[in-house]
């Protein structure tokens, strides 16, 4: 039978295989993708302490975040729990991390039924969790939205966001400072998954900051946030650009592969700036003998910030360092550059990649 049926079967096989794998990939991306990163704010000496920290009326806070499937996300939940421990007046209820939107919705519904005093929510998908967050707000429970924004401004009392564009700006500005007046300097960029808005934001910020000092991105490659893709992209990049002055790598997870490729090439005429802020990159920065001179942080402590804000809102307190009577509606975190000089401040809250 059939020269005719065979190709059909073959085609079916291929396309099914393709679809299946696309499914797998999509899942893989989402888990690995999101702004992998680091943290800094909480736990350092500058962090909030003042009359607000005095024990007040006990509040119950519900916390829900996606599954801890990569270092940054694991740190989000760990830091949130650690922050809640510090307060005698906070009772934290942590829902099991999940990447299933419907499960996360039901977790929030449970919080509503249990009449918690506030909810801290890092949604797997901001749009999908918006309706249930609205429902919580309508029933009088303040929702603190972390990292991935809801679609409606009515769905959250306060929002804490990282700044992907700002990461690019910080990295670009740092490279400008290091390179100085050399307008011919070759700058290379190793991006993460190119189709994601967060990657586009990071790249845009980087390009904008560089053009501010008369530089541009001479070579750009994209990896997939995995060690292996980082190694592959960097290997090809190093062949494409015989001379480089600076490299910005968006993500410290894929950075392990990037550094393996650089080591293999034996090249050392450039310096590398990382992204996210993993522990091993910070340790490399601290050692001072690595090509990685700096990394820009995407705080993994924003969940912990969410806990603090939720507590304040539930207790009717304000941010004491602001004049305002109420907690602000939106806080966009800064993306600081970690170098040998300030690395010690950031190490305690770095995530393990």
């Amino acid at each position: 039978m059939s020269d005719r049926t065979l190709p059909l079967r073959r085609r079916l096989l291929m396309s099914t295989a393709a679809m299946l794998t696309i499914g797998v990939v999509a899942a893989g991306c989402t888990s690995n993708t999101p702004e992998a990163v680091n943290d800094e704010t909480s736990g350092n000496q500058n962090a909030a302490s003042g009359s607000n920290d005095e024990t007040g009326e006990t509040v119950t806070i519900g916390f829900s975040a996606p599954a801890a499937d990569h270092g940054w996300m694991a740190q989000i939940t760990a830091a949130a729990k650690a922050e809640a421990e510090k307060f005698e007046d906070v009772e934290l209820v942590v829902a099991e991390g999940t990447n299933d939107v419907s499960v996360q919705i039901s977790q929030v519904e449970t919080f509503i039924n249990d009449q918690v005093d506030a909810i801290v929510l890092l949604p797997f998908d901001g749009a999908a969790l918006t309706p249930v967050a609205l429902k919580a707000m309508e029933s009088g429970i303040p929702v603190i939205n972390v990292d991935r924004e809801f679609e409606s401004p009515f769905a959250a009392r306060a929002t804490v966001l990282g700044d992907n564009y700002g990461m690019g700006v910080s990295a670009g500005t740092y490279i400008c400072e290091q390179i100085g007046d050399n307008k011919d300097a070759v700058v290379a960029e190793i991006a993460g998954i190119d189709s994601l808005p967060l990657t586009q934001d990071r790249s845009q910020g980087f390009a904008d900051a560089l053009s501010d000092c008369g530089l541009d991105v001479d070579n750009r490659v994209a990896a997939e946030f995995t060690v292996e893709s980082g190694e592959r992209a960097a290997s090809n990049l190093l062949q494409a650009a015989p001379q480089i002055d600076a490299i910005w790598n968006h993500d410290d997870d894929q950075g392990v592969g990037v550094m393996a490729a650089i080591e293999n090439s034996g090249r050392d005429e450039f310096f590398v700036v990382g992204g996210a802020g993993s522990r091993n990159v910070m340790e490399a920065i601290q050692s001072g003998d690595s090509l990685i001179q700096a990394t820009v942080v995407y705080p993994a402590t924003q969940g912990a910030d969410g806990i603090r804000l939720a507590r304040l809102v539930a207790q009717d307190k304000a941010l004491t360092d602001l004049v305002e009577v109420e907690v602000p509606r939106k806080i966009v975190l800064y993306a600081p550059v970690v170098t040998e000089e300030n690395v010690e401040q950031f190490l305690p809250t770095a995530f393990q990649s």
Partner: protein
């Protein structure tokens, strides 16, 4: 693929081409001596691929003359091709034998993670890094054995059996590693596998050895002939006295071992073990095998074609990076190349298959 597909796979492709001395325009053309000579050689059978590869190199040369034509760059291409190359050679056997393995990437990830767990690494520290190497090989072989038993004795369709392995092996890899990147601490391991031998990376040498071994195994041994037989017509193979069940198991173990080898190579390349290693390798490997000229329905396979297929894809991404082109453009080109290579392949294959 459902269970009744087997007889169909069998009867076809080789058979239908050999059939008939009817006169067609094709026949007239193939009489040209130059064409006959060309198509008779193995280079001829892979002519479409050789052309595509040559064209790609030409584009590389035209757009980035000094950087592309450079020993270092060729070594980089070969080094990047080596991991997926070893996987694809294993895949060539399974597909030639009438099966398919969707779990190669997941097996690779599991092998790499298992070989780099704290326990294995500590054991390796106390004894020798060979412990890590054997762990990876054993895990690969073990997964392959499970696949093979399911397919041969459990009568599970290869597509489904290996799909299940894809899911569970990667899941197990994630559990073992807690989804963390596991960095290899054994210096001896890195020193050995990341070294160069007279300018050629060890990884490239491993790829070459696997390719040669694969070629010999497929073309010069009983095992190879049985593989063609089982893939071509499983019923006939059984009647001819081949233990087709045992042979099928061996094929899946073979591809599993290849994944183990590839895991070791990827561990060396990235200095890590990770549950994200080998993502999508199943598609890359199947694509390389198929554009290489191996029939997806089994019965015909070529190691040389597979190697060329792998080289084409790796060179493609190198040339695109040289020209600062985006990943998306690369994906489009990859698709176009698959189609063109297969079309050319079919033309040449039709001519050369006549006696």
């Amino acid at each position: 693929m459902n269970s009744n597909s087997t007889p169909a796979q069998v009867s076809d492709p080789v058979g239908s081409k050999e059939t008939p001395p009817q006169t067609s325009p094709e026949d007239n053309r193939r009489d040209h001596w130059a064409l006959r000579l060309l198509t008779a050689s193995s280079a001829g059978r892979n002519l479409g691929l050789v052309l595509a590869f040559g064209l790609l190199c030409l584009v590389g040369y035209a757009t980035a003359p000094e950087r592309f034509i450079d020993v270092d760059n060729f070594m980089t291409i070969l080094r990047l091709a080596s991991v997926i190359g070893v996987v694809s050679i294993g895949m060539t056997f399974v597909i030639t034998g009438g099966g398919i393995d969707l779990s190669v990437g997941a097996i690779l990830a599991l092998s790499s993670v298992w070989a780099t767990t704290l326990a294995t690494q500590t054991l390796a520290d106390d004894t020798h890094w060979i412990v890590m190497v054997s762990t990876a090989l054993l895990v690969g072989a073990g997964c392959g054995l499970v696949n093979g038993l399911l397919v041969a004795y459990g009568k599970v369709v290869p597509f489904i059996a290996t799909l299940a392995m894809l899911a569970s092996a990667r899941g197990l890899a994630e559990i073992l590693s807690d989804r963390r990147t596991q960095i290899i601490t054994a210096q001896g391991f890195a020193d050995f596998f990341r070294a160069d031998v007279v300018g050629v990376p060890v990884l490239v040498i491993m790829f070459a050895l696997v390719a040669i071994a694969g070629w010999v195994l497929l073309n010069r041994t009983t095992f190879g002939r049985r593989t063609f037989a089982v893939g071509g017509n499983i019923e006939a193979a059984r009647l001819a006295g081949i233990n087709v069940h045992r042979h099928t198991v061996m094929l899946y173990v073979l591809v599993g071992v290849c994944c183990g080898i590839a895991a070791i190579m990827l561990m060396a390349r990235t200095t890590t073990g990770s549950s994200t290693h080998g993502t999508l390798y199943e598609l890359d490997a199947i694509a390389a095998v198929v554009i290489g000229g191996t029939l997806l329905s089994g019965g015909r396979g070529t190691i040389g074609g597979t190697v060329l297929g792998v080289l084409i894809f790796t060179t493609l991404s190198n040339v695109f990076t040289m020209n600062n082109l985006s990943i998306s453009a690369q994906a489009v080109a990859k698709g176009v190349i698959i189609v063109i290579a297969v079309l050319l392949q079919q033309r040449f294959a039709n001519r050369s298959s006549s006696p």
